[in-house]
Subunit: 190 residues, 2 copies
DNA sequence: TACGTCATGTAAGTCGTTACATGATTGG
DNA sequence: CCAATCATGTAACGACTTACATGACGTA
């Protein structure tokens, strides 16, 4: 799905700025199955505006940058519904990590173990995020989509944890301290 | 990872034509974590040849199209090893299906149930393929990578199967015969 | 004062897909 | 004979990313 459709979909939930859309598609609860950067979002929004699928109102408040708050139009909703009627394209999963793993027998053992550990902590972190989103989400369809992400990441984490044991036996485990390096959240809001 | 690196990696396992590489990256045991089409593979191979990371020999045998069989060079292996030393980029998962699912409450119930059923049969098929590859594979790293795919797809399948029940209760299930509709090998013509 | 966040946007460039062009062979 | 498979390649196009340009405000 292209960025135009993505914007249309996100705006169908609530009015938003381009900045906000990028956040949702990059860090928010959409981010586990899509991505978009400013360079694609802003042009997409202009185009959608030209086609009258969205409109915007300028908001100029004191002490804040001027912002354009986009809303989907009726026409936009109709187009979105129409798009949803087509068959969705196939899911795509791209993993540089898995590509690397094909050559683990050609790397020093510690190198691959580090990759595994890094992966495990990345997935753990992502999984925590998804689980958090799952709890504080009452929109059923989002629940479904986030649950899907939770299912995948849980499975991957389990798989990696069973696999890492196989490699831990092979030699000593020297350089893998990044475990709690990112976990620094002890002072959430002081 | 770009197509150049992908070709280099695949050729590190065995000599192959561009056609074969595309098959591996599209249908073979690489296809669950990468993709590449002719339009990117052939230019990549030319480029790699210019850089002397691969070479090819022409094979002109009776009754077959002429083909270029590519081999990785020593220099190519060195470059590959060097690339593997860098941190792999993050995995990316793109799902149009999940995007669609966010709007299931805005579709007719049968539409989403069809999507679910389609998804379930697609994943089942893919899972069978992966499991088959897992059994007849003695290369350990490939085993790891395929096992990863099996883990993901098993989890997704389980998730979808539990979810589909929730939607099955809501209305009767009329149009989902596409099981063997694609399998149509018989062509009745005059 | 300097950095981080909010906020919008453009231009250049990368990367890859789709569709096309070509042609031989095999099997039903 | 027709379709599928094997086989190579190019050109046009599309989609997105990166980096840049701009600027105001809050806070440490």
């Amino acid at each position: 799905m292209n960025v135009r459709t993505l914007c249309l979909g996100i705006l169908s939930f609530s009015d938003m700025t381009g900045y906000d859309i990028r956040k949702m598609a990059f860090e928010g609860s959409f981010s586990h199955f899509c991505e978009a950067s400013y360079g694609s979002i802003y042009p997409a929004l202009s185009q959608l505006t030209n086609e009258e699928l969205v409109t915007y109102r300028d908001e100029v408040s004191e002490g804040k940058p001027a912002r354009k708050i986009y809303s989907i139009t009726e026409k936009g909703r109709a187009v979105l519904l129409h798009i949803l009627h087509e068959q969705p394209g196939p899911d795509r999963f791209k993993s540089e990590f898995l590509f690397y793993s094909l050559f683990y027998d050609k790397m020093p053992p510690s190198q691959f173990r580090n990759l595994l550990n890094k992966k495990i902590s990345d997935i753990s972190e992502k999984l925590e995020g998804l689980k958090g989103a799952l709890d504080c989400c009452d929109h059923e369809p989002s629940h479904f989509a986030i649950g899907y992400g939770v299912a995948i990441n849980t499975a991957v984490l389990d798989y990696l944890k069973t696999q890492v044991e196989k490699f831990d036996g092979e030699a000593e485990t020297p350089p893998c301290p990044p475990k709690d390096t990112f976990k620094e959240t002890s002072h959430e809001r002081s």
